[in-house]
């Protein structure tokens, strides 16, 4: 879409924009600092400084090799993965809310998480245990989950379109039906799974960032930056989509093409995210909602804010998940839902009071 910005705002609003940008950036930075500094293994600030100084050859304080390994190989990739996944889920939520013209929409509506869960459960329950063992087998499950996520979303898109043209209402209904189907399939797999498989399926769907390694961070960096770039490029078009398909078309938006692309891009990015982390709920719903309450619905503000806030929030949540019951870890998806759902109810109650 064009570069004609909707920044016809008055100076007080522009300075508020500025504050928001700075604050959200700082929040992200704080999340990284907290996430890197806190964990099951104690790395006091002096050791942290020592490890960081070591990279440029300066020798201050002291640290041991385990701390260094944990920091570089485990904690840092995990924090970065949290930022990337949080950003991806939030921006995907923004896209879905623009697509469905509804602030209650989330990527789940197009069947992305249902497809991933079904595929993951299939891999766990139907393939022999050897298929997921070892370093090569470590890719079987994420590959399966990703394939399932994208395939199911594309099927939903197909069903929700009439002659190649996505229709929002039909798409929504298709998503509902597909989610019901994947749920049923999941139930079937749960039924035939044995004890160990059942627990694995359960734990996968509860979500976790513990699989964070640098290659995975690299892959998600690609997926997330692709998604955010796509969203930013179309920020004005998303505003126009909210006017309704016809009005958007009258203002020059290639509505059908854009809607198709929004579904595909969301499926790819969220598919990549859930493939490695399992289902992390409520982030794609609550973060855009929160950001919209603060900064308004215009996407040139909403997209950057959602990216930063989503990333920061997920890092905070993950830091809590891996320290609250150390050395064990709480499932991240449970934590985000436990925090997200009541918060969302609070938002709804507040909205009803003002309606």
């Amino acid at each position: 879409m064009s570069t004609a910005r909707l920044s016809t705002a008055s100076p007080p609003i522009r300075s508020r924009d500025h504050i928001t940008r700075v604050a959200s950036g700082l929040l992200c930075l704080l999340a990284v600092v907290v996430g890197t500094g806190i964990g099951a293994l104690a790395i006091p600030p002096s050791a942290l400084a020592s490890i960081l100084a070591d990279t440029v050859g300066i020798d201050i304080f002291a640290h041991d090799t385990t701390q260094a390994t944990v920091l570089w190989a485990i904690r840092l990739p995990r924090v970065l993965l949290g930022l990337l996944i949080g950003a991806a889920l939030s921006v995907a939520g923004v896209l879905m809310q623009a697509l469905f013209r509804n602030p209650l929409a989330s990527p789940q509506l197009i069947g992305v998480s249902g497809g991933a869960a079904l595929a993951a459960a299939s891999v766990i329950a139907l393939l022999p245990a050897a298929a997921t063992a070892g370093t090569l087998g470590a890719f079987t499950l994420p590959l399966g989950a990703f394939t399932g996520a994208v395939a199911v979303s594309l099927v939903t898109l197909r069903i929700g379109s009439r002659g190649g043209t996505p229709d929002v209402v039909t798409l929504l209904l298709a998503g509902v039906a597909i989610n019901a189907l994947t749920g049923a399939g999941l139930g079937l797999l749960v039924f035939i799974a044995d004890d160990a498989q059942l627990r694995s399926i359960t734990f996968w769907s509860l979500g976790s960032l513990s699989a964070a390694t640098w290659p995975i961070v690299g892959a998600l960096a690609l997926a997330t930056s692709g998604l955010v770039a796509f969203a930013w490029h179309h920020r004005t078009a998303f505003d126009l989509l909210l006017l309704g398909s016809e009005d958007a078309r009258h203002l020059g938006v290639p509505v059908e093409k854009l809607q198709r692309r929004m579904v595909v891009v969301t499926a790819l990015a969220v598919g990549a995210a859930v493939a490695f982390t399992g289902i992390i709920g409520f982030v794609g719903l609550v973060v855009p909602h929160l950001c919209r309450l603060w900064a308004g619905p215009a996407h040139h503000r909403l997209i950057p804010l959602s990216t930063l806030v989503g990333g920061a929030l997920l890092v905070f949540a993950d830091t809590t998940a891996r320290t609250a019951v150390a050395p064990a870890e709480l499932p991240l998806g449970v934590l985000t839902t436990l925090l997200g759902a009541p918060f969302f109810l609070l938002l709804l109650a507040r909205a009803r009071r003002f309606a």
């Binding site: 004609a4 309704g244 016809e246 203002l251 919209r292």
Partner: protein, 277 residues
């Protein structure tokens, strides 16, 4: 000033076994105010959808600036053609000035965008709504803002290009005074060379506003011409099932439709507000 901008020829549309439009011709010309009237179900909305390219006709064609509609990209069209829909579907809390600024989206570079937004709002008498939230507006206020958006959309384009404004029953939510103002705003565009088409329900408004009227009935074009030629008692009876006399309006001379069957039985002095001769 009579250059054809948007031309529909032989438009025919069938949907679900029904014929919505049959062989309809229509031309929107530069600087001309065209009103499309007809009873409910006549096909007016279908016609509009074909003109905007939302629907493809089963037969016939629509040409913009001499070329078939489909050869123009949506964005290219949007730079010169604005549509004001019957209802706004926006359900998000944008500021009014942001909604108006959306009309500038099809254009690449708009200098003084904020200024253009203000002018457009002022033209529809809604400048005081500038910083208000869209969802807090009344239906009528939202209609005015939507019109302002279309004004901004057209004004941001080069004045020498072909430009058209399409209005779908623009006076829906407006009280009588504002109904007139909305149409006069649209009419003012015509003086700038913009072609204006309005689907109207109110025959009196059509009569006093339009340069040219097209009458649709059951999917067919049954009349086309200036108001004085089109609005005859015979047509009113045939198409609108309205028993009326048509006399020259005392103020502007255009056809004035006077229904023949009053709701109240006539008294000894039939003219309650007799015009002062």
């Amino acid at each position: 000033m009579t250059t054809p901008l948007l031309e529909a020829t032989g438009l025919t549309v069938h949907r679900n076994g029904r014929t919505l439009l049959q062989d309809v011709d229509l031309t929107v010309r530069a600087g001309e105010k065209l009103a499309v009237i007809g009873p409910n179900g006549a096909g007016k909305t279908t016609l509009l959808r074909c003109l905007t390219g939302t629907w493809s006709p089963d037969a016939g064609s629509v040409r913009w600036d001499g070329q078939p509609l489909s050869t123009h990209s949506p964005r290219h069209l949007a730079r010169s053609r604005a549509v004001v829909a019957q209802r706004a579907h926006l359900d998000f809390d944008f500021a009014v000035h942001e909604v108006v600024a959306m009309g500038l989206a099809p254009h690449s570079r708009v200098p003084h965008a904020g200024h253009l937004v203000r002018i457009s709002l002022a033209e529809v008498g809604a400048l005081d709504l500038h910083d208000r939230r869209w969802t807090r507006l009344s239906g009528g206020e939202q209609q005015r803002v939507a019109l302002a958006r279309s004004l901004a959309q057209l004004r941001a384009g080069a004045p020498d290009r072909a430009r058209v404004l399409l209005l779908d029953e623009p006076t829906n939510h407006l009280d009588p005074a504002w109904q007139l103002q909305a149409l006069s705003v649209a009419g003012r565009l015509a003086t700038e060379g913009i072609g204006v088409l309005a689907i109207l329900h109110d025959l009196a408004l059509a009569s006093s506003w339009a340069d040219h009227i097209v009458v649709l009935d059951q999917g067919r074009r049954v009349a086309s011409g200036p108001p004085i030629d089109v609005l005859t008692p015979d047509l009113l009876a045939r198409v609108f099932r309205l028993e009326a006399a048509v006399v020259p309006h005392p103020h502007h001379g255009r056809p004035w439709i006077v229904p023949v069957h009053p709701l109240i039985a006539p008294t000894r002095s039939p003219n309650v507000h007799a015009a002062t001769p």
